[in-house]
C-alpha cells in the first residue's frame, strides 16, 4: 500500500510538469499583450513598455520564463504576481478558493442526496413507473446544457418569481449559493442517479442477494447492507472524481451568477491575458484533481476487498 502511494505520488511529477508547460505555452500563443493591456486605449511609449516587460521577465524566451516560474513554485511556493493588480496569485487564490469550495460543497451534497435518492428509488423498482419517471427526468437534465439551465433558473426564480437575487454578492453567503449550486450539481446528479440505478438493478439479481433472502434477513438489512455495500462502489468512485471536477469546472455557472470563485477568476484571467494568474490557478486545480483521483483509488481498495495495491 505504502509503495503504491509513493509510486502514484512520483507519477504526479511528470503529469504536473506536462500540464503546466502546456498551459504556459498555450497562454503564450494567445494574441494580445498583458503589459500593453495595462495602459488601455491610451497606449504608452515603447521604452516604458520594454522596461515593464523586462521588469516582469516577459522579454525572456518562453522556456526560461517557465523555468523561473516553476522555480518560484517549488522553492518559495510563489505562484507569481497578477500583472493588473500587482497582487500575488496566492492571495487571489485565497480569496476565490473558499467561495468555490462552498459552492462545490453545496452542489456535492445536493448531488449525493438527490442523485442517490432518485437512483435507489429507480433501481429498486427497475422497469416500473418510478424507474421510467426517473429515466425521463435524468435524461432531460443530461441533455440540457449548463448555461441554458442556468438561464432558465435565473429568469424563472430571479426575474419572474423574485425568490432569489440574480447575482451573488461578494460575500457569497450560503443562501445566495443555493441556486448556482443546484445548477452546478444538476448534471452530476443525473449521472449519479443513472449509475446508482444501474448498479442496484444489476446487483439485485446477483446470487448473494438470493443468499441474503434465504438467510431470512429483514428487507431493510438485505437492501441496506448487502445491496448498498456493493452498489455504492462505482458511485463513490464517480463522486470522488466529480468533486475535483466541481471545484474547477464551474466557469460557466460562476460566470452566470457572478460568483467570485476560481471559475470566475480563470475566466477573467483568460480575457485579460494574465498568463501567470491563469497558470497558477490551473496548477492548483491540477493538483486538486491529481490528489482526488489518488484518494478515489485508495478508497476503492477500502470499499472492495478484492482490490489490493502492492
Amino acid at each position: 500500500m505504502g509503495r503504491y502511494v509513493a509510486r502514484r505520488l512520483l507519477q504526479m511529477i511528470p503529469v504536473f510538469i506536462g500540464t503546466t508547460l502546456l498551459i504556459f505555452l498555450m497562454v503564450y500563443t494567445l494574441p494580445g499583450d498583458p503589459v500593453r493591456g495595462l495602459f488601455g486605449d491610451k497606449g504608452a511609449d515603447p521604452a516604458t513598455l520594454a522596461a515593464m516587460r523586462h521588469q516582469l521577465g516577459l522579454d525572456q524566451p518562453i522556456l526560461v520564463q517557465y523555468w523561473e516560474y516553476m522555480k518560484g513554485i517549488v522553492l518559495h511556493f510563489d505562484f507569481g504576481t497578477q500583472i493588473a493588480s500587482g497582487r500575488p496569485v496566492t492571495d487571489v487564490l485565497g480569496d476565490a478558493f473558499p467561495v468555490t469550495l462552498r459552492l462545490a460543497g453545496m452542489a456535492f451534497v445536493i448531488e449525493i442526496v438527490l442523485g442517490l435518492g432518485l437512483g435507489m428509488a429507480a433501481g429498486l423498482r427497475a422497469g416500473r413507473l418510478t424507474d421510467n419517471v426517473v429515466l425521463v427526468l435524468t435524461l432531460l437534465i443530461i441533455s440540457i446544457p449548463v448555461f441554458v439551465l442556468g438561464f432558465i433558473v435565473k429568469s424563472v426564480f430571479a426575474f419572474e418569481l423574485g425568490w432569489i437575487a440574480p447575482n451573488v454578492s461578494n460575500d457569497a453567503t450560503w443562501g445566495e449559493l443555493v441556486a448556482p449550486a443546484i445548477v452546478l450539481g444538476s448534471l452530476s446528479l443525473a449521472y449519479v442517479a443513472r449509475l446508482t440505478r444501474t448498479t442496484m438493478a444489476e446487483n439485485l439479481r446477483s446470487d448473494y442477494m438470493r443468499t441474503a433472502v434465504a438467510k431470512g434477513l429483514p428487507r431493510r438489512r438485505i437492501v441496506g447492507v448487502h445491496l448498498m455495500r456493493n452498489s455504492l462502489i462505482p458511485v463513490i468512485t464517480f463522486l470522488g472524481t466529480d468533486l475535483g471536477a466541481l471545484m474547477g469546472g464551474a466557469v460557466v455557472t460562476e460566470g452566470l451568477f457572478n460568483v467570485k470563485g476560481i471559475g470566475g477568476t480563470i475566466f477573467e484571467s483568460i480575457v485579460r491575458r494574465e498568463g501567470t494568474t491563469l497558470v497558477g490557478l490551473v496548477t492548483v486545480l491540477v493538483l486538486v484533481y491529481l490528489f482526488m483521483s489518488l484518494l478515489v483509488d485508495l478508497l476503492y481498495a477500502v470499499l472492495d476487498p478484492r482490490i489490493r495495491y502492492a
Binding site: T211, A214, K215, R221, D304, R306
Partner: protein, 352 residues
C-alpha cells in the same frame, strides 16, 4: 398423484412440537414463469415429502424444475416473473404459501436453510465471512457483534476449516472453492435448522473435494437429525448419502424410489437412460449410451408424456396421455414400498 411414502425408519423430530407426519410436504406444486415469449411451466404438479433425519435426492437435468421447486419451498422465487398458481407446501403441517412475508422470513434460515451451488457468487464479496456467518445470530437471536463473531468461529471449526479464528476476518475470495462451500454449509447450519436444501452443493468443486464436502454434509445431518433435500444431477453423489430418490423431468416427478433399488431396476425409461449413460469400467471400449435429443422447451412441452420424443419405448398413447405417477409392483403384484413411475410402460421397463 401419490406422494413418496416413508422409506427409512427415522427418529422422531427433535424439536419437541406435537406435529405428526412429514417435516416437509409438497403437494401438487405448480410454478410458472411469465416471460415475453409466453408462459414457461417450470413445475407441473410436484409431490414430495421429507422426514426429519431423512435425505431426499432430487435428480434431473438442467431445466427439469428441481431448483425451482426448492426455491419455491424456500420462498426465494423471483415473483414476478414467477408465479405459483396451484399447490401447497406444508412445513410441520402449516401451509407456507398462505403465510405472511414476516412469518416466512422467520422460517427461512432458522427452520429451513439452503446451500447454493456456486459459493463464490453466493457469498457477498465485500463482507468478511465472519460477518456473514455472524449475521445469522445477530438477526435471528439478537446476539452482539462480539458474541456473533465467537459463534462464527465455532461454526467454522465445526465444518473443519483450519485456523478458523485467524480466517474469520477474511473475505470469500480469499478461500479455496472447497473451503467456500464449507462456509456456505456452516451458514446453513448456523441456527440448526430442521431442514436443509442443498442445491447442487458439489457441482462447482473438483472430485476429491466433492467427496469431502458430501461426507461433511452427511455427518452433520446425522448429528443434528435434519431433513435434507439434495438437488443434483450427479448419480454418483446420490448413491452414498440419499435415502430416497425423486427423478424429475420437465417439471414433473417421473420416478420415485428408495435409493438402492433404482440403480438395480429403474422403472422409467428416462432413469434407465440416465443410468446407462454413466461410464463403466467393465464396459471399456464400447460406445457410451446417450439419451437422444434435447431437454424439452418449457414454453412448449410435448403433449402426452414430456419424454416421448426422446424415448426408445414411445408408443401412440405416450403422445396423447400424460402418465400419472403410479405405484410400482413386483411381477406378482406385491407392493414395492416407496416406488412409483410415471410411465405407461413401467412394467415393461422394470420387468422386461
Amino acid at each position: 398423484m401419490t406422494t413418496i411414502d416413508k422409506t427409512a425408519e427415522v427418529p422422531s423430530a427433535r424439536s419437541g412440537d406435537d406435529h405428526v407426519g412429514p417435516l416437509l410436504e409438497v403437494r401438487d406444486l405448480h410454478v410458472e414463469f411469465h416471460t415475453r415469449d409466453g408462459v414457461a411451466k417450470a413445475v407441473n404438479g410436484v409431490n414430495y415429502s421429507v422426514n426429519a433425519g431423512e435425505t431426499l435426492a432430487v435428480l434431473g437435468e438442467s431445466g427439469s424444475g428441481k431448483s425451482v421447486t426448492a426455491q419455491a419451498v424456500m420462498g426465494i422465487l423471483d415473483m414476478p416473473p414467477g408465479r405459483i398458481p396451484q399447490g401447497e407446501i406444508f412445513f410441520r403441517g402449516q401451509d407456507m404459501l398462505k403465510m405472511s412475508y414476516e412469518e416466512r422470513r422467520s422460517i427461512r434460515g432458522q427452520k429451513i436453510a439452503m446451500i447454493f451451488q456456486d459459493a463464490l457468487s453466493s457469498l457477498n464479496p465485500v463482507l468478511t465471512v465472519g460477518y456473514q456467518l455472524g449475521e445469522m445470530f445477530r438477526v435471528h437471536q439478537g446476539l452482539s457483534k462480539k458474541e456473533a463473531r465467537a459463534k462464527a468461529i465455532g461454526l467454522m471449526d465445526q465444518v473443519k476449516i483450519p485456523a478458523a479464528a485467524a480466517r474469520v476476518s477474511d473475505y470469500p475470495h480469499q478461500f479455496s472453492g472447497g473451503m467456500r462451500q464449507r462456509i456456505m454449509i456452516a451458514m446453513a447450519l448456523a441456527l440448526e435448522p430442521d431442514l436443509i436444501i442443498a442445491d447442487e452443493p458439489t457441482t462447482a468443486l473438483d472430485v476429491t473435494v466433492q467427496a469431502q464436502v458430501m461426507d461433511l454434509l452427511a455427518e452433520l445431518q446425522r448429528e443434528y437429525n435434519m431433513g435434507l433435500i439434495l438437488i443434483t444431477h450427479d448419480l454418483g453423489v446420490v448413491a452414498d448419502v440419499a435415502d430416497k430418490i425423486a427423478v424429475m423431468y420437465a417439471g414433473r416427478i417421473v420416478e420415485t424410489s428408495p435409493v438402492h433399488e433404482i440403480y438395480k431396476r429403474p422403472a422409467h425409461p428416462y432413469t434407465k437412460g440416465l443410468l446407462e449413460s454413466i461410464p463403466r469400467l467393465d464396459q471399456k471400449g464400447q460406445e457410451l449410451f446417450a439419451i437422444k435429443g434435447l431437454p424439452p422447451n418449457l414454453l412448449n412441452v410435448p403433449s402426452g408424456c414430456a419424454f416421448n420424443p426422446r424415448c426408445v419405448m414411445a408408443q401412440d398413447i405416450c403422445r396423447t396421455d400424460i402418465p400419472p405417477l403410479r405405484p410400482v409392483t413386483e411381477r406378482d403384484g406385491t407392493d414395492l414400498v416407496g416406488r412409483g413411475s410415471a410411465c405407461h410402460f413401467w412394467k415393461e421397463t422394470i420387468h422386461g
